[in-house]
């Protein structure tokens, strides 16, 4: 951006400003802030302005530009409401199931005896898999479980059943759920591991000294300490699944009714013209939902921080 050249200059200005008696104090304070101006401008133009524009357009009529709430009433009825519901349910499911699996995996490597190499392998693999979604992931599963997929073939060869004849389909919410686990599970492992490591061995020993068994330890000590972190991680997984677009789009070719896919369709020009603002309304609804989730996450994180330091 244009502002980047000022960056190199400002620290100099501030240093000289810091020498007493040469620059008046208010100016000095102002100069201090100059250093973050390029960043601030970039964020304002690239992040804040688009979001505000969407929020405004969501309340405007697509053709006349007059104020209206009709975009929202359309967004909250019929197929768009269904899309929103499917998106929410899918995100909840892909938070809870991978959340539990991820916790189990994290716990398995956390308690492993000769765990150092296993730990390193799982953490590294999780880092790689968690950052891997989108198009390649969709094609990986098309190769695995589509009608001509390799595993579909194996199942047919071993059990003599074609799963696609018995109601299985990869191109539905269930299929998307199965695919999303591929990046959600490793994500859970990575975010829950620090919380597990925050459980002090001393607590366990103290509980044992007072005669607590494994169940009692988890019921009264480990569980309550871990619970806010666990919930927080689930919210994170929810947000990650809710915002995802690429995987579902590439997997189903845009045929699945999920809110992000519907937004994409509305603004790609595949649907009737004059409906862009409906897309913006759906976008705003998504932002609001994610914002609520993130606020919940922050609160839980704060609670978790009380014990896990």
């Amino acid at each position: 951006m244009a502002g980047s050249t000022t960056q190199a200059v400002t620290p100099e200005a501030v240093t000289s400003g810091a020498r007493p008696g040469r620059v008046p104090a208010p100016l000095r304070t102002a100069l201090r802030w100059l250093g973050v101006v390029p960043f601030g401008v970039y964020v304002a133009l690239g992040l804040i302005a688009p979001t505000v524009a969407i929020a405004i357009a969501a309340f405007q009529d697509s053709t006349t530009g007059k104020f209206t709430t009709s975009n929202f009433s359309t967004a909250l009825h019929g197929s768009y409401l269904l899309g929103l519901k499917t998106s929410l349910l899918l995100s909840i499911a892909t938070a809870i199931v991978p959340g539990i699996f991820g916790l189990l995996i994290a716990y398995a490597i956390f308690t492993a005896k000769r765990g150092q190499w296993l730990r390193q392998v799982v953490i590294t693999a999780s880092g790689v898999f968690a950052n891997f979604g989108g198009v390649p992931l969709a094609f990986l599963f098309i190769a695995t479980l589509s009608t001509t997929g390799i595993v579909t073939g194996w199942i047919k060869a071993i059990f003599g059943v074609n799963i696609w004849d018995h109601g299985f389909t990869l191109y539905s919410a269930y299929g998307v759920f199965f695919v999303y686990m591929y990046f959600q599970i490793p994500l859970m492992v990575l975010v829950i591991l620090p919380a597990l490591e925050g459980l002090r061995p001393a607590w366990r020993e103290a509980a044992q000294n007072m005669g607590a068994g494994t169940w009692q330890y988890w019921r009264y000590v480990g569980g309550p300490v871990l619970f806010p972190s666990f919930l927080g991680c689930l919210l994170l997984l929810f947000g990650s699944a809710f915002a995802a677009y690429a995987t579902a789009e590439a997997l189903t070719g845009g045929t699945i009714a999920l809110t992000p896919i519907q937004i994409g369709a509305l603004l790609n020009g595949n649907v009737l013209a004059g409906q862009q603002n409906l897309g913006y309304a759906l976008g705003l609804i998504m932002v609001v939902i994610i914002a609520i989730v993130m606020i919940g996450y922050t609160i839980l994180q704060r609670r978790a921080a009380k014990w896990l330091r």
Binding site: S4, A8, P136, T148, L284, M286
Partner: protein
């Protein structure tokens, strides 16, 4: 996909080495069942994709119509995005550490925003507000990718800067007569090499894999090409996906190994590729100002 890098300081993750004997009581069978299930779920699709594509499909990728254009656009975007990201974020982060430490918390909050706002929403907003001259060039994507890369870049750089005694280094450099450009270039940057590397790699990986924004802005980057090409040949698309995957993995492994080695040398700081947490537990209190 909301993926964020965090090169976290060793102090935040207590060393696992201090586990006492009591905690070692574990359930080997249970553990191996879980790990085997996970291994199967993660490895079978990879194997299936390899079988499905067949080794013959790989050389074919490079001969397909549109491949060269798509990959060159993706690479150009990666280079431009990385340069812009570093030019914007490195001075800003260094500056905040030195002069405005009270802003660090807000910076964490701001740089988490690109994750809070779904990419699909951000791009439709950008397409709405961007001026015409930007809309007509694919480098618009690079400008938006800088925003997407911010969480990765900021967290890597912040962790890198936290691990060195920046203030002392800068004061020493200044009192030896070095100006700011020399200090930044010859003192600060060499000290945060690992952080720079992970910021770069994560940005490149992000740009090479990004589909949502490119497809809505109607530019054919590599991932968009893979999807479009599926109509022509499924196996080639699957092969191209595997290729994209392996390249991304190699890049990510690079930071994990290099980052890990650098961290061991400094005694701490492991590279965890992911945590989105706006770390409430960050050591803002014990920080020398």
């Amino acid at each position: 996909m909301a993926a964020v890098a965090d090169v976290e300081a060793g102090a935040q993750a207590p060393a696992p080495a201090t586990r006492p004997a009591g905690r070692r009581r574990s359930f080997p069978v249970w553990r191996w069942v879980i790990l085997l299930l996970a291994g199967a779920y993660f490895l079978i699709p990879l194997y299936a994709a390899l079988r499905f594509a067949g080794l013959k499909a790989f050389p074919d990728i490079f001969r397909q119509a549109g491949f060269t254009d798509a990959i060159s656009l993706s690479l150009r975007l990666a280079v431009v995005t990385t340069i812009l990201t570093l030019v914007l974020m490195v001075p800003t982060t260094v500056y905040v550490h030195l002069r405005l430490p009270q802003v660090r918390r807000s910076m964490e909050g701001i740089t988490i925003l690109p994750i809070v706002i779904p990419p699909i929403v951000l791009i439709i907003g950008v397409l709405k507000v961007a001026p015409g001259f930007l809309l007509s060039t694919p480098y618009l994507l690079a400008l938006v990718y800088v925003i997407l890369a911010m969480p990765f870049a900021y967290r890597s750089l912040d962790a890198g800067l936290r691990a060195v005694d920046l203030k002392t280094l800068v004061e020493a450099s200044n009192s030896l007569g070095a100006g700011w450009p020399a200090t930044l270039w010859r003192v600060v940057l060499p000290n945060i090499r690992t952080a720079l590397l992970s910021a770069t790699v994560l940005t490149v990986a992000l740009v090479l894999g990004e589909f949502t924004m490119a497809s809505l802005a109607l530019y054919v980057t590599f991932p968009v090409w893979i999807v479009q090409f599926e109509q022509n040949s499924g196996p080639v698309s699957v092969a191209a996906s595997l290729l994209a995957l392996f390249v991304t993995w190699l890049l990510l492994m690079l930071i994990v190994t290099v980052g890990g080695r650098g961290a061991r040398k400094r005694g701490g700081a492991q590279v965890a590729l992911f945590t989105v947490a706006p770390r409430e537990t960050g050591q803002t209190t014990g920080e020398p100002e």
